[in-house]
Symmetry: C2
Subunit: 208 residues, 2 copies
């Protein structure tokens, strides 16, 4: 190592690794996950390239570690806040609020990490794309599960297909995120909210 920095304890190293990956995930939403070279990241975090190389052996390892870091951020900002709401429509609405807030508050400067990187890598086979595809499938399943909980609570009609409803929720999220990044206005987020509220009203259980 040629950083000239004093040797750090393991816990400092862990903290430093997490700080590097936070920055990497932020950078990836601006320049792309493919644009995430060790050199660029070294500039962004003020370390030497060889110092970074000690943390991450290859660009692909760095990309995979960056995705895992973004998964933790997404869990903390979107999944966990909704998980503390009671199952049913309340939890579904908490998830909608949490996702739209995650976009609006610039948790990542280029909007939702997963929307950005999956659209970037969808035609580039390999473990990074596979990981992103798996995340996206898990997310849609999570949405469908929360819809099923609302059905079990008698708050969404039994005739609704949870996977179809999950698609419609994610469609509103996906476009709201895409437009917010470009427009920097709350309008698309409000449109998404209106779309979803209307759809949930239509999905209310039939009387009787």
């Amino acid at each position: 190592m040629t950083t000239g920095a004093p040797r750090k304890t393991r816990s400092d190293g862990e903290r430093s690794r997490n700080a590097i990956l936070d920055e990497a995930a932020r950078l990836a939403t601006v320049q792309g996950l493919s644009g995430l070279s060790l050199g660029r990241l070294a500039d962004a975090v003020g370390m030497s390239k060889s110092g970074l190389f000690a943390h991450f052996g290859s660009k692909e390892d760095l990309q995979l570690a960056t995705v895992e870091s973004a998964v933790r951020v997404f869990d903390a900002h979107v999944i966990e806040p909704a998980a503390s709401a009671p199952p049913g429509l309340a939890r579904l609405r908490a998830l909608v609020d949490a996702y739209l807030r995650y976009v609006e508050t610039d948790v990542f400067p280029g909007g939702c990490f997963f929307a950005a990187t999956l659209m970037e890598l969808n035609m580039q086979p390999g473990p990074v794309r596979d990981r992103l595809v798996r995340f996206f499938g898990d997310w849609l399943q999570h949405l469908a599960t929360i819809v099923r909980e609302a059905q079990a609570a008698g708050e969404i009609d039994e005739s609704e297909d949870p996977e179809q409803l999950a698609f419609e929720l994610e469609a509103a999220f996906f476009l709201a995120n895409g437009q917010f990044v470009v427009m920097r206005s709350p309008e698309p987020l409000e449109r998404a909210r209106r779309t979803i509220e209307r759809r949930l009203a239509a999905a209310a259980p039939a009387a009787g």
Copy 2:
């Protein structure tokens, strides 16, 4: 949205330029518009880099010309087929069909050119991003115009906000495209169609 360019006899140079740009637009949906170097494109079309340089002075000029080429493809596959349907719901449904067909038939190997490239360049200021943003705004306005025509024809309720409905249509398209590219299955396209048919049924004029 239509090119307005009269069909005329083209020189070999124009034909060759168009063939190069077709390939460039296809490549851009796989490797990104940023990944579209003169060198890579030269390999793909079997020309020398200097030969390509004679057509396009800079990478940015090539990117802008590629976007215009993709606009013509989009017009031919999506806008024009719908324009020949009568105004109202028939034209709106023709547009939905045309868009989903444009995705499903791999007009571009990486799905909708504009979804791919706008998500790629949304954080990279410059004339290429500006052109893509303008296209996207025009497209949403086009959708809203077709909704207004259906309102004028008495086929969509007057109380519907055309811009909101345009957002909802595009949300279904945007996610259907994103998922189709990854899954290579018609399922997301069918989900989008179901979303839209249900939404149009809900938008039918109130009786009386």
